[in-house]
Structure formats: C-alpha cells, structure tokens
C-alpha cells in the first residue's frame, strides 16, 4: 500500500555496484515476454495467417501504414522499427503492470514487481532515446548545415523563434517522460488505494480504465515520437 506512493523505484539488490530495481526487473521481464510472443507469432509464419500472427499483422500493418502516411516511403523503413518498438515496449510494460502480483509480492521487505513505466528512470530513458534518435535522423536527412539552420538564422525574429524551439526540444523530453510516468504512476496509486479500501470486484472498473490508459499512453508516445521525427527531418520546416 505505502509502496504505491513512493516515487523512486525500490532497489532489490546490487549486482557489483549496479543497482537492480524492481522496475528494471520488470522491464527485463517485459523484454522476455515480448521476445517470446514475437517468436511464437512468427515461428510458423504462413501466407494465410492465424492466431498470434494475425494479431501482430494487424498491429504492425496499422503502425506501418500510419508511419508511411506521415513519413513517406523512404523514411518509413528507418522510422518504423523504432516507433513500433516504443509502442510494443510501453504497451506490454503497461499491461504487464496490471497482472496480479504487481505491488503485492515483496522481497526482503521491498515490492518485487512494479509497473515498468511508474519509474521516471524508464520513461526518461525512453524520452531521451526518442529525442536523441529524432535529432540523429534530422542530422542524417538534412546534413549539419540544414540541421543548424533549423535553429539559427540571421533574421532576428526567426533567431528568437529558433531559440524558443530549441527550448521546446527540451520540454518535449520532459513532457514525453512525465506524461507516461504520471499516467502509469497515478494508475498504480489508484489501484493500490482502491484495492486497500476493498479488494474484491471494486477495483475491476479501474483495471479496465488502466488497460485503456496503458494502450492510449503507448499510442500517444508512439505518435508523438513519429510526429517529432517527421517534423524535424523535413526540409524547409524552419521557413514557415
């Protein structure tokens, strides 16, 4: 109960000097689950799909068409895996966090499992990765000069706008990370609180809500990353 309101992740132990937190453990579990599921889905891949393959085909086809609609055919091949990985990682992390055992099983007095994205380390890492890759792609597609022109021009008004946008790049990271963290952390707290009040049936609507929130947050993170990538790697965007 009390653990639900603790902001930093609980440290379960140290591997040499490396702290193993419960959220890190869950992120590893998430990776393992995703790997297992994707291998299962594509192990006996057929032209006429069935079961898991069908499900993943629908998701991937949807994400792929969304990316190619926004980014165009050439950049889609580069953007798609990153954007889709954000989606799958966050979605599976969020959904996994709703399983029984999360927040209830303890290990040496600490909560063993805690939803991956209720740790700012995780969401900030994702946001930083997203921002880094966005700028890396901008550099790649625009060249150094084109990239710098986005922020600095001789026109004083646009120079000011450019500086504002530079600040905006940092706020993007903050908003991306804190949006995801806030939503999932709040969900955890709500679930813990409701379960504390009455553990049977009453938390169910909140679980449904959290499923939706988990999906929406994954989709939002994916879409925002995609849009940032497309906008920043587009030519002439600064001349508006």
């Amino acid at each position: 109960m009390e653990s639900g309101i603790v902001l930093p992740p609980e440290i379960l132990g140290y591997f040499y000097n490396f702290p193993i937190t419960n959220t890190l453990l869950v992120s590893w579990i998430t990776i393992a689950v995703l790997t297992a599921v994707s291998i299962l889905a594509t192990r006996k891949i057929k032209l006429v799909p069935g079961g898991l393959q069908n499900l993943f085909e629908i998701i991937i086809d949807f994400v792929y068409t969304t990316v190619s609609d926004l980014a165009g055919d050439k950049k889609t091949k580069v953007f798609f895996p990153i954007v889709a990985t954000f989606f799958f990682f966050i979605l599976f992390g969020n959904l996994l966090g709703l399983f029984p055992g999360f927040g209830t099983i303890t290990y040496k007095g600490e909560v063993l499992l805690r939803s991956m994205n209720s740790d700012l380390n995780m969401t900030l890492a994702l946001a930083l990765t997203s921002a880094f890759l966005t700028h890396a792609f901008a550099l790649r597609y625009l060249g150094i000069l084109g990239y710098l022109k986005k922020w600095f021009t001789l026109n004083p008004i646009f120079l000011f706008v450019g500086i504002l946008e530079l600040v905006g790049e940092f706020t993007k990271v903050v908003s991306l990370s804190f949006r995801l963290f806030g939503n999932i952390f709040a969900g955890e707290v709500v679930l813990a609180t409701i379960s504390g009040i009455f553990a049977f049936l009453v938390p169910l609507p909140f679980y449904f809500l959290e499923i939706i929130v988990g999906f929406v947050q994954a989709a939002v993170f994916m879409m925002l990353t995609l849009v940032f990538m497309v906008l920043l790697s587009e030519k002439h965007a600064a001349e508006h």
């Binding site: 995703l34 291998i39 032209l47 393959q53 993943f56 895996p81 799958f88 740790d119 700012l120 930083l128």
Partner: protein, 164 residues
C-alpha cells in the same frame, strides 16, 4: 537537480533502460517486424498477381468466346451448304430413279405383250384342234355314219381348211 533525486533518477539505471530499449529494438526487428512485413509484402504481391491473372483469364475467355462464335457461324454456313447440295443431289437421284423405273416398266410391258402374243397363238391352235373335234362330231351326226379313219382325216382337213 533535487527533483531528479526525488524521482530516484540514477544515470546508471537510465543507461540500463536505454540499453534495454535498444536490445528490444534489435530483437523485435529481427523476430517480429522483418518476418511480418515480409509476409505482408508477399501477400500483397500474391493478391496483385492473382488480380492480374484473373484479368488475363477474363480476357482470354472473351477471346475464346469470340472464336467460338465465329466458328459457329462458319460451321452453320457450311452445314447449310452441305444440306443444299445433298438436297440437290437427292432430287437428281430421284429423277434418275424415276427414269430407270419407267424404262423398266416399259420393258416389262413389252415382254408381257410378247408373251401374250405367244399365248394367243397357242390358244388359237388349241381352239382349232377342239373345233376339229367338234366338227368331226357334228359331221358324224350330220352324215349319220362313222367315217373311217382315212375319210375322217380328209374331211377334217377339208373342213379345217374351210374354217381357217
């Protein structure tokens, strides 16, 4: 940076999560995106091919139908010609047969006529013979005596000569 401490931000953990993400990116790229996108592409290709094939088949069907139509027209014309010819030939044949039949009938009539004449001659001969007998009997009655063989013969011959 007090706020970061409050949230438990740890550079090592941050880095670990970035690495996690990159590992997952690699794994999913290899095991999920590549095979699925490949199979999606294959299916798209297959559907395109099938559509193209269907179009081709339809075109060919139309061509075949046209061919059949022209062939039918040609065949029916040929059949009509053949029937016409057969009719003509039949008419000719009928004429010939009629001619032949008539000829045959005429021959038969001629033969019958010939046979009839022979019959008539023979009948005349017979009648004459009978007549001679009758005359002989009549003479015998008239003369009241039986003429001897020699006389009889003479008399008959004489009478017959008169008769004929």
């Amino acid at each position: 940076m007090e706020i970061l401490n409050q949230f438990g931000i740890n550079p090592v953990l941050l880095l670990a999560q970035v690495v996690n993400f990159l590992v997952l990116l690699f794994i999913l790229k290899k095991f999920l995106y590549k095979p699925i996108l490949k199979v999606l592409g294959e299916r798209k290709q297959k559907i395109e091919d099938s559509l193209k094939n269907a179009e081709e088949i339809e075109k060919r069907l139309a061509e075949t139908n046209e061919k059949i139509d022209t062939l039918m027209v040609k065949t029916s014309k040929e059949i009509r010609e053949m029937m016409d010819e057969a009719n003509k030939e039949r008419a000719l044949h009928l004429e010939e047969t009629k001619e032949k039949g008539l000829q045959m009938a005429r021959d038969i009539i001629k033969k019958a006529e010939a046979a009839g004449r022979v019959d008539a001659l023979r009948m005349q001969q017979e009648v004459m013979n009978k007549m001679a007998d009758i005359v002989a009997v009549g003479l015998e009655k008239v003369t009241g005596k039986i003429i001897n063989k020699k006389e009889q013969k003479v008399l008959i011959e004489k009478e017959v000569r008169n008769l004929s």
